[in-house]
Subunit: 299 residues, 4 copies
Amino acid sequence: MSEFSSIGLVGRQDNANISDSLNTLADFLLRRSGIKLVIDEAVSSFMHDHKAYSEMQVIPQKDLHKHCDLVIVVGGDGSMLKVAGSLANQDLPVVGINRGRLGFLTDIRPEEIESVLGQVFDGQYKEESRFLLNVSMQRAGKTEQIGCALNDVVLHPGSAAQMIELSLFIDEEFVYDQASDGLIVATPTGSTAYSMSAGGPIMHPKLDAVVLVPMYPHSLSSRPVVIDGNSEIKIIVGDRHNVMPQVSCDGSVEFTAEAGDEVLVSKKAEKLRLLHPIEYNYYATCRSKLHWSKRFGSS
Amino acid sequence: MSEFSSIGLVGRQDNANISDSLNTLADFLLRRSGIKLVIDEAVSSFMHDHKAYSEMQVIPQKDLHKHCDLVIVVGGDGSMLKVAGSLANQDLPVVGINRGRLGFLTDIRPEEIESVLGQVFDGQYKEESRFLLNVSMQRAGKTEQIGCALNDVVLHPGSAAQMIELSLFIDEEFVYDQASDGLIVATPTGSTAYSMSAGGPIMHPKLDAVVLVPMYPHSLSSRPVVIDGNSEIKIIVGDRHNVMPQVSCDGSVEFTAEAGDEVLVSKKAEKLRLLHPIEYNYYATCRSKLHWSKRFGSS
Amino acid sequence: MSEFSSIGLVGRQDNANISDSLNTLADFLLRRSGIKLVIDEAVSSFMHDHKAYSEMQVIPQKDLHKHCDLVIVVGGDGSMLKVAGSLANQDLPVVGINRGRLGFLTDIRPEEIESVLGQVFDGQYKEESRFLLNVSMQRAGKTEQIGCALNDVVLHPGSAAQMIELSLFIDEEFVYDQASDGLIVATPTGSTAYSMSAGGPIMHPKLDAVVLVPMYPHSLSSRPVVIDGNSEIKIIVGDRHNVMPQVSCDGSVEFTAEAGDEVLVSKKAEKLRLLHPIEYNYYATCRSKLHWSKRFGSS
Amino acid sequence: MSEFSSIGLVGRQDNANISDSLNTLADFLLRRSGIKLVIDEAVSSFMHDHKAYSEMQVIPQKDLHKHCDLVIVVGGDGSMLKVAGSLANQDLPVVGINRGRLGFLTDIRPEEIESVLGQVFDGQYKEESRFLLNVSMQRAGKTEQIGCALNDVVLHPGSAAQMIELSLFIDEEFVYDQASDGLIVATPTGSTAYSMSAGGPIMHPKLDAVVLVPMYPHSLSSRPVVIDGNSEIKIIVGDRHNVMPQVSCDGSVEFTAEAGDEVLVSKKAEKLRLLHPIEYNYYATCRSKLHWSKRFGSS
């Protein structure tokens, strides 16, 4: 008997070329006895032609926990980022299938669906708890919830080729004033994403820490700063003529700030329950995705 | 007798706090016998109250060369960038007065106006030739002039938190495809500006070279590339859903590109004739502005 | 009454210009009633001429805990590094006086001896627990203790201009093979020292983490990796003709390795009890020592 | 008829696994009519068993120009570096065969010997002129020649884990005082070697420039500086207790310096005449050796 008997499939509406993976996956799941299949709207739009479509229940993403005990995300790390907050809120374990190349978060390849997912259903998997960042904004004494992020929160100029000014506080202690292209606040999960392009360190997923990476700072001595994961981060937006900085969560613009706004970033209480194949190894993923085995000219 | 007898004053309309420097400067110039003063509109707006305002001729910037043989820019490096292309076209020597802190381009402090400018008028100065970059755009077989830049040409996403894709060619040779936040093409003059924040090297102003600096590239092995100053650079804008990359010259957005557009960057024929105080030294400016004398903790 | 009644003074024999600070310090301490003074050999060598020299007891560093309840280090961060392991073993709190410029570890200036040390004696201080790294070496089945480090453990070629090869394991998981100039393993305390010059991030002292920084790696995609402070790090020395890599602790060469040697680095059980002035603030020290307030050209 | 009729083969005595390539090469050369073969001692040691060994003339490397009109280096970029100075002095064109993987300097693969070398003999090749750096040392008024380098001259501490201090002058102008692990002076040819690991930019081989790259400088605002290739570089060795900095040319230690020594680096008059296959393209080599085509995770 499977550890999981009711499976939710989620995806992204803008990712048309996941149809094949979805059909293979549905076929596999339906062949296993006692598996019930629920799908969200995005997946539904790609599966009307499946012979067993009528047996699948279409459920809004936020209600998945009422109908299934495991979620499978199809489509790549970007798809996982889109649903991470919702799945964390529902305390639902999730496993990711990555069409094409390996992802950091979606580490099952389409051709491994049968073998690896079979193991997962049989209880052969590694479960990780990945924390998210919560972002809120304080203006004129009022606090407003903005969003949450599995990878990173970024404060950047709304339109490009402009500088922003900000003041950074950690746990109410003043850190620095900065003139730059922006500031990245990244989790260990996000440390191999945008933060890494910007010069941030890799942080092991088990580390309870957050990194602050200045983007093209005007001071040459600014460096990434790694702080405790439970820190309260406050960024006060500076006053520069005509610049309206934006706050992005995992790459989606969520808020346009004004001078004086306080952007608050801290750990979200609910964690993402991320399942990996049993043979998953973080450093192996790094070696593969970051080409660590490659030295100069070893082709 | 002065080497220069007719002086043009130029500035920026948005820089209200240059009035003091302008008045001090005008007083000094008018005290010298045989000096004629012409001003552009920006400067004119700040000098209506000067007692000798009626003796000053207001001239459009592009016609300065018909009326003066030296131009003085008041206001900082940003003001110099604004007029560099026009002054290069007119083959007019220029010297910069920097309100407040020293600039890389405007290296006379307000308190030095009398002593240092006096030397310049007496022929005691260093003249440098600084080259600019010319930018044009090719779409559907048509070429359009976009602008010129003394510091840098930057291709970047129109709105932030997006990636752009581009193909780079130098002298018709393919260099690389790149997914990144953009690409900086900088002159030696611009190598101590935005390019430096992005990890580019410092290039001595006498060097006939251009540096290409990828901005947060997705490939970790991308590096700044320094090429001959006479190279023809072609950037073909890639095709990404909803992204409209912009081209900036010295920080001003000049053009919004579409997929398939070819952005062409090459050396502008006309050079900027930049005058420095006789005791000017490039490395001394670097030491001062980049705090090279400072080691960790030497306060 | 003082919280501390018996004070040990330690220093470095090679630091002749600390005599003034030592004498001022001794005068101040002896003026306070009920304070007993013990000194180590290094300090003893500078204080023979002090009028109360006969009242001071000269004690070997390792026995300080039997004779005093607070240690004062005079001389700079380097002096603190020299005694950190010994003081951690003895569970003795320590405060540092820095001749000249501010240190990260020794943050009392000579001119503040009376005011700030007075506060410390009155119980007005901040106590921090700083962890050290323990290094041992495994060869042919035998394990040998090598040393400990408050800042960093560095594996590097014995003589310069050579490359070393190593294999890195963390908690028995293979991380990578690396060809480079070496590898730095740094604590949060060491993150503002050598590791920072090599591109490592700043890590807040409260963070329970260690950073691994590759030195000039041959692979361009190698990055600093931050891992949990309780990780077991194993570096297997590779086989390269004629290269005998050395292991340094806080800058002192402690061991010369051979191909096949396993260098083991892990957290030392005993922590350093570091006292700071009550108004101490980590970020303020960063701002001061790293010149964070300085932007380009703001002189 | 061949453009080259007398061919010299050179190699390195410490590279035993080049025998196969040498034999294949010799066979190919001897099959072409009218080709005379001369070899240096290193190659001679590997070819005693060749059936035509008696027809080959063994010539000291420095006299090759008297006996041949083209030199072939077998063994990789390191082998080319070893002979570059000597071949430049003799004005002898050289082409490189790289056992195993592609090199930046030795760009013919063993399996291409017949096809590509055939083209070269038929006059189908690209010739590049690569400049070298000349290093001399001034002590107590006397100047001594130290060596020359195709890639880089490096000043570094003789033994590791130490800091050196130096003062840098370019064309008699003071640039900076620096405390660091050393200083790299690299040519465009060397810009893809050690200099790149240390953060230096890539410089196109046609660029007449030299880059100065500080190694782990104590000042966070030190950056690589690119200067004109004809500059006279002077490094004055600072005075630090017990540190004897060494000067390396292309990775070989050539000289041990004392405090006060002046190390002089400038362009060597004689250039290396480097031949490439006709389809050679610099950027293609970069893409291949630096994995520019690789984005994160594109495996």
